[in-house]
Symmetry: C2
Subunit: 322 residues, 2 copies
């Protein structure tokens, strides 16, 4: 049986990338913040059977755990610096650890984000990552910064992760290829770091968040924090490649209230439309304009013809259920 310390040494201690003054192996890690920059911090706890299936592929799981945290940095426009990993494991399975750590480090290396410390314990499989980033004062994309008249934008596509879930749950019949495509979006979300940073640097965008619990619920947080309303063109919402082949009703439902999308929803003045498109192209991330922020509170859904839609959908809540 691997000891706790051997486990850390073998799978999680690496040659230093140089962000941390002191990395894994002491009571605390030490970071030297870049002078004048603020530190952005986010934490996410993922539980087996709740956020991922029992027996989930460990390489994809390693990717996803870090991806959902990086996605929070992206939503603030922050540059990733480092992260801590607290891991509860039923046992120390070398194959699982090798795959999990490879998946996690592959994504970490893409974003030059260093594992600086952590904790391991035996227990039900649970993974808590806390991520650190840097951003210049006043540049963070905050939920309370949406203003009436601004455009609402979405990065990438929505709904494929929810479609995969529907396939797994047999809510709908999905052929093997469609499920495979959808599942990839569920298990391997892409944190929109480059886009978030580019939108914040100028700044082009004002408010932003990452869509993790379904667009309709998450956009609601922007509206509440900014004390504004919005009109959303439901048929403009970019459906994922697998979802695009499904019925209109399903496309609407899963793009609006899917969950696990990890795309950015952001607002920007209409005067910035060309800048948004150019920035997104430079970041290699497609963006779609899907609605408008209104002074009038509440969220109004309209179809492609501008006709009002009444839909009974809501975002994901971990305590009320969906």
């Amino acid at each position: 049986m691997l000891s706790e310390f051997d486990l850390i040494k073998r799978y999680f201690r690496r040659a230093r990338s140089g962000h941390a003054v002191l990395g894994i192996g002491d009571d605390c890690a030490l970071l030297a913040p870049t002078p004048g920059m603020q530190t952005a911090v986010s934490t996410d706890l993922l539980i087996e059977g709740r956020h991922f299936f029992a027996g989930a592929d460990p390489r994809m799981l390693g990717h996803k755990c870090l991806a959902v945290n990086l996605s929070d940095l992206a939503a603030m426009g922050a540059k990733p610096v480092g992260f801590t990993l607290a891991l509860s494991l039923p046992g120390a399975d070398p194959e699982w650890l090798e795959a999990f750590s490879s998946g996690m480090f592959a994504l970490a290396d893409q974003h030059d984000c260093e594992l600086i410390g952590g904790d391991t314990t035996r227990g039900p499989l649970a993974i808590c990552i806390t991520v650190f980033g840097e951003i210049a004062p006043g540049h963070a994309l905050r939920r309370d910064a949406a203003r009436a008249g601004h455009d609402i934008w979405i990065s990438g596509t929505l709904g494929d992760a929810r479609l995969a879930l529907a396939g797994y749950w047999k809510e709908i019949a999905l052929d093997g290829e469609a499920l495979a495509h959808a599942a990839l979006r569920m298990h391997q979300p892409t944190p929109r770091i480059e886009l978030g940073r580019a939108l914040a640097v100028v700044p082009i965008a004002h408010a932003a968040l990452d869509i993790s619990d379904g667009l309709i619920g998450d956009l609601g947080h922007i509206l509440e924090a900014s004390r504004v309303g919005a009109t959303l063109d439901v048929d403009a919402l970019p459906a994922g490649p697998a979802l695009a082949g499904q019925s209109l009703a399903l496309r609407r439902r899963f793009t609006l209230a899917g969950g696990d999308d990890y795309e950015l929803c952001f607002t920007a003045p209409a005067s910035q439309r060309e800048a948004v498109i150019a920035t997104a192209a430079a970041a290699g991330t497609p963006v779609t304009r899907v609605g408008t922020i209104d002074a009038q509170p509440g969220l109004r859904l309209v179809d492609a013809a501008g006709k009002s839609l009444e839909m009974d959908v809501q975002g994901w809540d971990h305590f009320s259920g969906q």
Copy 2:
């Protein structure tokens, strides 16, 4: 049923203490590091049935979860700034949440340490806190800084938490009063923040860590990181008030390899003895000199008469068991 957002708002969102530029409620929290200071980071994951009993008193649990993290800051000599809380709960029980958050915030307020963000989800009871502190460059008390000839010191007392466990497990017969005293040390550890900061500021101490898995194992980390050995006077180890009334054999075993002590073990040059004692008195934390760092690798245990002891004890390992 409380929603996730109501739960956060009701129990965890508070008037701002002013450390964070942006606190709970956005994708990330934002901290403005004090210019010239380094950031110390530590994370701990506590699992029901592993780190605390099922049905543990939620107020004491709230204290303990934060205390074990603050103890890591203390061991570096860092000043607490803030923390994130990721919480997996079987359900949203208002009474439990009220008591848990009160216990946690009472300790947080003592150390002016602000809850800046978090995550809540439904699942087995698990608590992951990541804590942030500040320290001046070069002042951190590191595990690799012990030097031959230095004294080894211990704060407070050891072994009472382990004695409580022995009482709960019926390893030994403990009367109700002794168990109550011992249990208090198990459930309400005191992070030695003031002492750690005072030892680092001058600096008086060199190496330090907090004793969480038993002195013998934890001191081993200092010896390994510093490439030195040590001689420990087993009978000089300060036993907790409840343990002090037990047999010599039990006192030796539980002070050496108890676990859950959350006291500091630190090293300092012999020339600093008076300074250590004065600093400890000013911080209101008793300290005891218990041994010496040696150039020769390995840990030697001796009794009060200086006679070599052979003892089969080891520290706690979460994967090998004890």
